[in-house]
Amino acid sequence: MVSSIAFFANLLLVFVFALGFATAILFCKFWLYRREIKRGRSFSLVVHQLKSPLSAIKWTIDMMKKGELGPITEDQKTFLGKAGDSLDRMSNMIFDILEAHSILEGPTAFELEKVNLVELTDSVISDMIGSAREKKVDLDFLHEGEEIMVSADRNKLRVVIENLIDNAIKYSNDSGQVVVRLITNDKKQAILSITDHGIGIPEQDQDKIFVKYFRSQSAKQHESDGSGLGLYVAREIAQKHGGDITFTSKPGETRFVLDLPLV
């Protein structure tokens, strides 16, 4: 009986010591990074602290797969490949969730300025031409005039346009076409439409497409990765700008429309 009490007392002591040690380490890390915290970058710090061990694991798996940390069997190589793929999927989901949080609930308010939507959309399309070409998708941009001005947070609006065009490319069939069209209407709105001729959104899923974390079965089959946050975040940003995102879809054609008030 006495020896049992002594054993558990020692175990408790070890536990308390380990907890204290871990707390001291965390305190030291945050003390050292206090400058970043004072700058209001505690969120960036969290993201950084998550990314660093993930980077280390990714690199280690990569080096092991290539035999740079000693010889491995073909079987081990295969399983390391699968582990690397799983890690990538997990990382992408974590960062999608963190990015959504940062965009919608982060400390920085929307910083509005006059933005030329023609120029912004053109810039996004230039960045995405590469991924469109990889899928052999033609990406065309048609616009009314050289200047269509809206009041927007440029970075956040960029996220919306990137998301809509990226989805159109992703869910297009190979060798398809994505048309981005930008016009104004008599309601003093800028209307940006993105049309693809891909898999379409099943009718039974269409009322859920903007729901946080929702992904339709056909989307999952076409593209297994994805957090289901993109359209949710895009619509939230559009609505915070006084606009909205709507869509129509049938197999073979989907059109998403972003409307924003003109300035």
């Binding site: 950084h48 990314k51 660093s52 690199w59 080096m63 970075n155």
Partner: protein, 126 residues
């Protein structure tokens, strides 16, 4: 016969595991590698040595990577040494700030393998 070195790289990284992985990989490609575990150590090293390239993390204790870049610009012997920022901070503002302070390139660690980093370094040195 002495082995031919591909060049001397200074790795500035406070995470021991990441630092040792990067150093190991660079040495496999015949680079001479020196390390600094924080910004202070990096600045002291650069006051006395001239590497061929600096691989620089940004989030460092005390003097951060931006501070190291600023100090490098004030030391004639190292102000033209190419710096590749290698950080998990990836905001557009961070990238722009680093490049304005003289960084030649900016790689987000989570998005690149060590092979990608080697290719980038080789493009600047070989």
């Amino acid at each position: 016969m002495a082995e031919k070195s591909s060049g001397k790289i200074l790795i500035v990284e406070d995470d021991e595991f990441l630092r040792s992985l990067a150093a190991k990989r660079l040495k496999q490609d015949d680079y001479d590698v020196d390390v600094a575990v924080d910004g202070d150590e990096a600045v002291k090293y650069l006051g006395k040595n001239v590497p061929d390239l600096v691989l620089l993390d940004l989030l460092l204790p005390e003097i951060d990577g931006f501070g190291v870049l600023e100090k490098m610009q004030k030391i004639d012997e190292v102000k033209d040494v190419p710096v590749v920022v290698f950080s998990n901070l990836g905001d557009k503002e961070d990238i722009e700030r680093a490049k304005k302070l003289g960084a030649k390139d900016y790689l987000v660690k989570a998005n690149f393998t060590l092979d990608d980093v080697i290719q980038k370094i080789n493009s600047y040195l070989k």
